[in-house]
Symmetry: C2
Subunit: 392 residues, 2 copies
């Protein structure tokens, strides 16, 4: 039964689309239906010789695929299956429900989690905290944390204790840490030998980590072990998506400049047993082909003095970055808070600009990275497991 | 002295460019010179309070940067330095050579290694082999291997022995293996439990690895431990850059289709202790903003039956992929060879399509991945070390 109470009586027709391309048309007898190109339908035959029963993956070898396959016979079976006998005698049967889920529709499923932007005003409302023990023991809490990271780009795990392996244990709940040339985990503390300016006690301005990697880390985990008791060492964060939105509103040309003019990001040094010399050339704002922001690169320490553009672009780039910086540091955008020993701050490195106030005395964070590939994969696995559990 | 024998006598002028933007103009007294925007010059002051002496990185906090800085006084010192006193009394001194290396020029340094494309005809000439012992012991050979990978995208390391840790040892010469949900290293052998179709003895068609990762592995290392002595198990490779070139020549619309129509890549399964459900939506051919190919996604096993585009794009996509596949398998493009036990085949996963003929009997490869970020970093470090060594 469909929603208006009419009984669907499915029929299938070998047809051709508006441009004369061959397709099979399914009609539900109530004015609804959908269309499937011959090549797609044959290419997605679900029989055991075309699709792996164990993994669900396509076994067809495309070198040998008959792109011009046409149906010799069509039939609706039991009002819930489409049977096709092809012109090479191959036979396919498709669940109608399976086909309806694969109706063609531009742009569907591009985003699984809609990102919600925040400013100083909304920060306290979106800055959710979870308890370490809950994230470790409960898959429901783990999923909530990962979904919070995807939607808001920031979250804190409380009561983690002070053991130095907590970042690694937390990452294990997702998959595993992303190793970089700064090690699998790294200590953020005063280190007079360090080549990285994060390892000082002075003010650390807003930045994103490792913009000089093409495959920059997706999420940063920072475990606070020691924090000065007096003032100092407070964290500063700005939602890069909000900064970009505001910049676009105020001056769309500056937004375009920062999303198109290539900047050279560089890191030379030695740490964790590795000598490195990383360079990546990319604009500050990276958009995907739909115009959505997929990554922000921003690190004054790692912006090279070499600027491989024509001189007129240098001028407009400095004008644009001045506006970007003013917005990022505007009191309506930037939020300040102080991590407590035992907190693990977690945030999206493609999106959130982060920094730290200067301090005196001791301060120690242990950091690690996770890739979005792993977080998204784990999120889907948990969503599926918990939905099955709730349905049983 | 410059090349025409005239003596350069440098002078500096506070000036403005064609659009009235403030800049400092350096003139060499022989009709040559270069221009530096005020903001860039002040932003790249090399004094100890602006630039870290240890790391060479910018220490300026951009929140506090005076974007409107102007020179109060300019002077050329000893004909090899530019001295600037700024209008806030800050003083900067720049080596002229350093400035000349930073002359603005659109598009410079975009590519460090020019990629050379190959076909079946040129394959034997570009398919270089190195000895394992040489790569392990000699930095010169290590650098040659890495440069070969960057330029040609494929190379083989011979005489590696049969120990199962060789891929890891080889990766250690560069940095470290990229871990994925298939483990740090993975065995390619017949495995009846496997959800991945590579773990069968049947024909494995041309593909790239892990297109369902946003951060897909850059380079594949495959160590051959066991190979059937009779026929079977031969490797097949096609240079994706050559395939794309040929497609563009034959049918530029099909090239555009494959470089713009999004495809859904998917992998669900369980391996190495991880359950995963990866999805990445991306065209087959990924171009950078300059129109250069940066990555090819191609894996029939992992192309989802869900195709989130309008039906007319489905039709033209199948037309285009048919042409792409015919070229990739054309005898003038595809090359076939048989790895010997003790070989490690290494190739660019963003570029080289690879597959394997079916076989009977035993076959075992141990695989691992390296990221281009690490390879390029190591290459630069080696180039610098060896150039210093050769100059001493």
């Amino acid at each position: 039964m469909n929603s208006d109470g009419g009984v669907r009586r499915w029929s299938a027709t070998d047809s051709s689309g508006g441009d004369g391309r061959p397709e099979i048309r399914l009609d539900d007898g109530c004015g609804g239906g959908s269309r499937y190109p011959h090549a797609w339908l044959r290419n997605n035959c679900q029989c055991p010789s075309c699709t792996s029963a164990e993994s669900g993956f396509r076994k067809q070898v495309i070198r040998d695929f008959r792109f011009g396959s046409a149906p010799a016979r069509l039939q609706i079976i039991s009002n819930n299956k489409l049977y096709v006998k092809w012109d090479d005698s191959h036979e396919s049967t498709y669940d109608l429900q399976w086909l309806l889920e694969r109706n063609f529709n531009e742009g569907q499923e591009r985003h699984e989690n809609q990102q919600v932007k925040w400013t100083a005003e909304s920060f306290s409302a979106i800055f959710r905290s979870f308890k370490y023990e809950d994230v470790i023991k409960s898959d429901e809490t783990l999923l909530q944390w990962l979904e919070t990271l995807a939607v808001y780009g920031i979250s804190v795990i409380k009561n983690c204790g002070l053991e130095h392996d907590r970042v690694k244990e937390l990452a294990r709940r997702v998959a595993f840490l992303k190793k970089t040339q700064y090690g699998e985990t790294f200590k953020v503390e005063v280190n007079s030998d360090a080549t990285n300016l994060a390892y000082r006690s002075t003010y650390l301005q807003l930045h994103t980590d490792l913009p000089y990697y093409e495959y920059t880390p997706g999420v940063i985990l920072l475990h606070c072990i020691v924090q000065p008791e007096s003032s100092g060492g407070e964290s500063e964060v700005s939602d890069g998506l909000s900064v970009c939105d505001r910049l676009k509103e105020l001056d769309v040309d500056s937004y375009k400049t920062l999303s198109t003019v290539p900047v050279r990001w560089i890191d030379r040094g030695h740490d964790a047993g590795y000598s490195f010399h990383n360079i990546y050339v990319s604009p500050v704002i990276c958009e995907d082909s739909y115009g959505n922001i997929k990554r922000i690169n921003f690190s004054e320490h790692h912006r090279d003095s070499k600027f491989p553009v024509s001189i007129d672009k240098v001028h407009i780039w400095y004008d644009a970055i001045e506006k970007f910086v003013k917005i990022a540091y505007n009191n309506k955008i930037i939020s300040t808070f102080k991590m407590q020993p035992g907190d693990i701050l977690t945030f999206d490195n493609h999106r959130v600009l982060h920094g730290r106030k200067g301090y005196q005395g001791s301060r120690l964070l242990i950091g690690g990275y996770l890739d979005w590939d792993l977080i998204k994969s784990r999120t889907r696995v948990l969503q599926s497991q918990l939905s099955n559990k709730n349905n049983n």
